[in-house]
Symmetry: C2
Subunit: 268 residues, 2 copies
């Protein structure tokens, strides 16, 4: 089985040795694993320590995102692909997993189109902001991932993309994971977060069909809205099942695949 696992920032802030051990078990059973991660909180922490105040905006489609000017794009790239990515690779190494850390910049792994101008809601009005370095993913280099997987490595991908002019672009980690999963023909995408799944009135939703998920998106807020949206993109790209599950506790991936309480989103 080929699976892509996205590790959310809320999980990354803690010790990820449970995840590393779980990946080792999966590899020992012959599964092919690709990890994808973001790391928004750490980016904010380092940026503010460098005296670069971060600004967040709400897009017209209802997604909260970081306003990424050129300097923020540099810091974003540096923290995600130089700090968090290497911490994950080191954690995997400690558990004996051979892994290689990459960003979307490496080998044109994640190509994106820069959205230079973004439409945001501010104080009840819609305004346009220039100079943004966020991207819409257009292509994933499956060849590079295939090469590393064949050689027995676990690719660990930080959610930074490369633009047409070689610029660093901020892309959402869940959507990057969905694109990667689609491109390499993954059977399963697991989005690990710090809650058990999609909640409806405080109650966990165990399963959503594609059409149910589509109706659910507008009712959700924040990170979960983005996750279900990414899950739909993954299904559209041919992935069979997407799990949204808690990344905390032992064997978070294996227990999810074995039926732990979480949300699974499937094709009809």
């Amino acid at each position: 089985m080929r699976l892509v696992v996205k590790i959310g920032g809320s999980v990354l802030d803690r010790d990820i040795s449970d995840i590393a051990r779980d990946v080792r078990g999966l590899r020992d059973h012959g599964e092919e694993v690709v990890l994808v991660h973001g790391g928004a909180r750490k980016v904010t922490e380092v940026a503010e320590r460098m005296g670069k105040k971060q600004r967040f905006v709400l897009s017209v489609s209802g997604f909260r995102s970081r306003y990424t000017d050129k300097e923020t794009a540099e810091i974003y790239t540096m923290v995600i692909s130089g700090l968090l990515n290497k911490h994950i690779v080191a954690s995997l190494s400690r558990e004996g997993v051979r892994s290689v850390g990459l960003s979307g910049i490496d080998g044109f792994l994640i190509k994106a189109e820069r959205k230079e101008r973004i439409k945001v809601r501010e104080g009840g009005k819609v305004i346009l902001i220039d100079g943004d370095y966020t991207g819409k993913i257009v292509e994933v280099n499956r060849g590079l991932l295939g090469c590393l997987l064949s050689a027995g490595y676990v690719p660990v991908i930080g959610s930074v993309a490369i633009g047409q002019e070689g610029e660093f672009l901020n892309v959402d980690g869940d959507r990057a994971a969905a694109s990667v999963a689609g491109a390499i023909g993954a059977d399963v995408l697991v989005l690990l977060t710090d809650v058990p799944g999609v909640l409806d009135g405080g109650k966990l939703v165990r399963m959503l069909s594609r059409s149910e998920a589509r109706l659910t998106v507008p009712k959700l807020e924040g990170g979960m809205r983005r996750k279900v949206f990414a899950a739909l993109e993954a299904l559209d790209a041919g992935v069979k099942k997407v799990f949204i599950s808690s990344g905390l506790g032992p064997e978070p991936i294996t227990s999810t695949l074995r039926g732990k309480e979480c949300t699974v989103i499937v094709n009809e």
Copy 2:
């Protein structure tokens, strides 16, 4: 031909599109190229901006080095493998070169032994300092580099190593390049810097045999002392020729190989 090129920090501070174009030409002629880089100045700049003052020490063997406590090791890793490494990969991409950025942490690429305690000279005395995160390179994973070279990629390696406990370690870029060159059986190692080569009384030394180089090391200072030392390590590891040459101007690598004024160090 297989060649390893180390790009010095003084060169990295400028636009490296000349180097990127040169690498493209070499690739077009079928040469296999691996790039190695450090980036000490940028590390200092980011660290100080983060409020982390940097301290430099002089080892008993006469090498000036950064005192790398745990926090500095994190910043060092972040800046080298997340910022400088990705800038080099992006520059290569702009020239159409497919490259993959790595650090020594990825796939255990550069394993090192941590030197927890360093002996330094301070005010005429020799003192011991604890808590350092620098490493002595013990092994290079040639398999990972072979895999990427076979697939047509130019590996770009930031000089960070991984310790036995998965810790991030500061290793010198020139010596990392020498170890990589030895491990992959490179024919040639080119150390690109901001001067034309080894100078003796202001005059360029065009050629040094191994024994001459050994006698020259103690007379040299700073970066050049380290480069000649690294060149000797490369020769010991089986590399045939080491060039110390200027990385400035067009085609810095090709012109060096074709006989530009520089220093070449060869086996007797």
